[in-house]
């Protein structure tokens, strides 16, 4: 009957419970920004330092390798276009992770959602390949969003209705999606001549228009850019965006103050799935021209890395995603120039994230000592 009083862990508040609130020190906008930016700079520098040492230890030239990683995006038009083409799925998969995370839920299913989006888009693009672009292209992108959202929606329903942990369901749905697209690529619309499980090409009306001289930049980049602005504004200024952040901060307090928390958590997953689905559809319409196995690349993990690095800021997220896209494109050049395996870049990215997480501890220590 009687309950023992339990002092719940107070999220975000450090220090002993009986201590008075820590006095804010040296406030002011400038120091505030410095405290935010400094850890990022320090983490990147440290990660490259450690990465460089590793490369050197493996017997390659660290200077050549890192120079290739950092500069190849910027020294040719091709490099910039390819980097931006990589940026699109990275930033969208980062949204797929970060938007549910804002409500406190972990979507680890971006690759399945991306593949479903690609499949949905390709299905429209192939089936109605004779339609003009003005009809086919929007229909295809919408189909991609819906397919991704629907895939994540399975996890959302399981979560809201049956309290199935979303980490589990989203991860497992990835595996289901692999089998599903394998079937689509080998049995439904197989392209026998492709030499790799892939669908037949989509119609010309399903290709995103290219911008500028060859190599052209596909217009999906602009679409995602607009979307990034929309999301940043939406999370900050709409009541729903506010509710999402509130639920992520403290679901109990949000519930008590009239927020329908479980519905919102489900909605976050669905929206995230839609973002990943769009990534798949754009990749089909802008880059691949078809759906093919393996097109999910390592966007799931990159999305998670970017989403974690953004620390809930939808404003910072596209910029961080761009930085990661630069590294990802540079990885290929690095392998060519310095024969360092591309995986080294993933190591560096992981190190950046690790140092960033460590910086929280360091910063708290420093604040405590100040």
């Amino acid at each position: 009957m009687s309950t023992v009083e339990q002092t719940p862990p107070t999220p975000g508040s450090g220090g002993p419970p009986s201590a008075p609130a820590p006095r804010e020190h040296g406030s002011g906008a400038v120091t505030g920004v410095a405290w935010t930016v400094l850890p990022y700079v320090a983490s990147v520098v440290l990660a490259f330092l450690v990465g460089g040492l590793l490369i050197q230890a493996m017997g390659y030239s660290a200077v050549d390798a890192l120079e290739a990683v950092l500069t190849s995006s910027f020294d040719s038009r091709f490099g910039m276009v390819e980097t931006l083409h990589k940026w699109v799925p990275i930033v969208l998969c980062a949204y797929a992770f970060a938007i549910p995370l804002a409500t406190g839920k972990f979507n680890i299913g971006a690759e399945g959602q991306l593949l479903l989006g690609a499949t949905g888009g390709a299905a429209i693009g192939i089936t109605f390949s004779d339609l003009p672009a003005i009809l086919l292209l929007p229909a295809m992108l919408v189909a991609g969003v819906l397919a991704g959202a629907l895939w994540a929606g399975i996890a959302a329903v399981l979560l809201v209705r049956f309290r199935v942990n979303e980490v589990l369901s989203t991860v497992l749905l990835n595996f289901v999606s692999f089998r599903l697209i394998d079937w689509v690529a080998t049995s439904v619309w197989p392209d026998a001549g492709a030499g790799h499980p892939a669908t037949t090409p989509v119609g010309d009306g399903a290709r995103l228009p290219l911008i500028g001289e060859a190599p052209g930049l596909h217009s999906g980049v602009l679409l995602v850019l607009a979307l990034a602005v929309f999301i940043a504004v939406g999370m900050r200024f709409t009541p729903t965006g506010f509710e999402m952040r509130a639920v992520g901060d403290n679901p109990r307090a949000s519930l008590i103050n009239g927020v329908k928390t479980s519905r919102l958590a489900g909605a976050g997953l669905v929206i995230g799935g839609g973002a990943a689905g769009l990534a798949g559809a754009i990749d089909v319409a802008g880059v691949q021209g078809r759906m093919l196995e393996g097109m999910q690349s390592n966007f799931l993990i990159l999305g998670i890395i970017v989403g974690l690095m953004a620390r809930g800021s939808m404003l910072a997220l596209p910029f961080i995603a761009f930085g990661i896209a630069v590294l990802e494109f540079g990885a290929g050049t690095m392998q060519l120039v310095a024969s360092v395996p591309v995986e080294m870049v993933l190591v560096i990215e992981a190190l950046i994230l690790l140092f960033l997480l460590l910086s929280d501890i360091v910063r708290n220590r420093l604040r405590g000592a100040a």
Binding site: E5, T7, S13, A19, T238, N257
Partner: protein
């Protein structure tokens, strides 16, 4: 000055970052002495005792026990030196019996089964007999009420051979009867040569049981007094401090906060008034989190401007009652109406719109967004209303403006509206929650333990705010485990026992002992049910 005192702490300093929590505090406790450690919230009482019990390490200062200097770096050291502590929150294994809980973490001579356990059982029975700490040694923990669980904690300390026993705010959840029994046990212990340190912020308690008292304020010792040379007013003056010039007799609110409110007599100046009907609860049935029907067929009327207080021991349906009245917990049946507007079966957001404001018991868990700023915290709940929006989007500039005004009006101690709520002290968090509640222009205000853990200034502030909304015609329900509080601020007091009315009194005709009996499910003999 010939023999050394049992315990001597000298010039103990403890800092947390920039905060000096203990500023060279000294304390002497003799054998056969109940020593009260008195002070408001944040005065440093618990911190000082946590240093003694080895939970915190002092930056400097010395501890002597029986004249010998000792170093205590962990509770294990403290226990070996005969120091025991009973915390506000108990660490007990719910599914174990009393005996198992007591022996947990000790070595049993004669093996952990059979002989060893029965020897331990005999010792526990002996301790509970000697000190009047009546407990069934074979009862399973989760079936015991808070008062008994506390006895188990005390037995635990005594079983480990404590000769100095620290009790941290032990009376918070106890009925008056249980408090009396506890104090009798404490007197027995000191009569046998032990020392007891009682951490409290209630003057009445210290006067009832202590031989000496040390008053602390802002991390420093103010004064140590003998029981014989002081009285309630004197202690209150020392505790509150005389920084505001000459000392004035404590107001009713201060008297409640300090526990010096006279009992069983007219408190304050509440005249016999009748109230216009406001909130009406009919046949309300509510389940707890385990789907057990805890409140059934509950009726309640709260007039406009009336304060109804619920007194009861924690776990008798307070949380369920508060949440149901606030529209957070669904009703299984029955209805709640405000001015003929039926609210039951509506979404929480609509209750908020209708002017139902809720100040939850657990401020951190239920009240705030810890990593968000004060601005966001104040916006929560009204973020969908048209008045916070411009062109459909949230107007953050105006929200910051309102937060700044609230910080000034509610005297929230914070640098700016961007200060994270989780970084605020308990009192300031409560001010933020109140500011948010009052922004809804409440017609029904539900408060659960609104002043628990607050210092006198914040407590007084809370009472003032409650008075202000009742003057504007708001119906108020106060659910509190602090009986003094309920009696002092409510117009009507209802005892809550196992989710139902167990008696009702006008606040100027109450007998706290009678309320105590009713809220523990005893006696329906005399009662002044209105």
């Amino acid at each position: 000055m010939t023999t050394a005192p049992r315990l001597e702490m000298t010039e103990v300093v403890k800092t947390f970052g920039p905060v000096r929590a203990l500023d060279a505090v000294s304390l002497q406790v003799g054998a056969r002495e109940v020593h009260g450690l008195l002070g408001g919230n944040g005065a440093g009482k618990t911190t000082l005792m946590n240093v003694l019990f080895g939970l915190y390490r002092a930056d400097s200062g010395a501890v002597r026990i029986d004249g010998r200097e000792v170093t205590i770096t962990s509770p294990r050291d403290a226990i070996e030196l005969g120091v025991g502590m009973v915390h506000q929150t108990f660490l007990q294994v719910d599914t174990y019996t009393v005996v198992e809980n007591v022996v947990l973490g000790t070595t049993l001579e004669g093996g952990s089964h059979g002989a060893g356990l029965s020897a331990a059982r005999a010792r526990i029975a002996d301790i509970s007999e000697r000190f009047g700490l009546h407990v069934d040694p074979d009862a399973v923990m989760e079936e015991l009420p808070v008062g008994i669980r506390q006895r188990v904690e005390i037995i635990k300390a005594l079983y480990r051979g404590a000769s100095v026993l620290i009790l941290d705010e032990p009376t918070t959840n106890l009925t008056p009867q249980e408090v009396d029994a506890l104090f009798t046990s404490l007197r027995t212990m000191v009569a046998e040569g032990m020392s007891v340190i009682l951490i409290t912020h209630k003057i009445r308690e210290t006067l009832a049981v202590c031989d000496k008292m040390t008053v602390m304020r802002d991390g420093a010792r103010v004064q140590t007094l003998d029981r014989a040379e002081t009285d309630a007013d004197h202690l209150a003056a020392i505790m509150v401090g005389e920084s505001h010039g000459t000392y004035q007799a404590p107001t009713v609110t201060e008297a409640v906060a300090l526990g010096t409110a006279p009992q069983g007599t007219v408190v304050g100046d509440v005249p016999e008034t009748t109230f216009e009907p406001g909130v009406s609860v009919r046949g309300m049935t509510v389940r707890n989190d385990h789907d057990v029907e805890l409140i059934s067929g509950f009726d309640l009327e709260v007039g406009k401007g009336e304060i109804v207080g619920f007194a009861g021991v924690a776990g008798n349906g307070q949380v369920e009652l508060a949440e149901a009245l606030a529209g957070v917990r669904p009703l299984q049946s029955g209805s709640i109406t405000i001015d003929d507007l039926v609210l039951s079966d509506r979404a929480t957001a609509q209750w908020l719109d209708a002017g139902v404001a809720y100040v939850p018991e657990d401020r951190h868990r239920d009240g705030i967004l810890p990593t968000s700023g004060i601005t966001e915290n104040l916006l929560l709940g009204s973020h969908r209303s048209a008045r916070v929006r411009k062109n459909g989007l949230i107007d953050w500039r105006a929200a910051r403006q309102r937060a700044q005004e609230a910080i000034e009006k509610f005297a929230i101690r914070a640098d700016s509206p961007a200060t994270r709520a989780g970084d605020l002290s308990g009192g300031n968090i409560q001010r933020v929650i109140l500011a948010r509640a009052f922004a809804h222009r409440p017609r029904l205000l539900v408060l659960h333990n609104p002043t628990r853990g607050l210092d006198i200034g914040s407590t007084r502030f809370v009472y003032e705010q409650i008075r202000e909304v009742t003057a504007a015609g708001c119906s108020v329900v106060v659910i509190s485990e602090d009986l003094d509080e309920v009696i002092a601020i409510a117009d009507r007091v209802i005892a809550l026992y196992q989710g139902s009315h167990a008696g009702e009194w006008r606040s100027d005709r109450v007998d706290p002992y009678e309320i105590g009996r009713r809220m523990t499910g005893l006696g329906t003999s005399v009662g002044g049910a209105a």
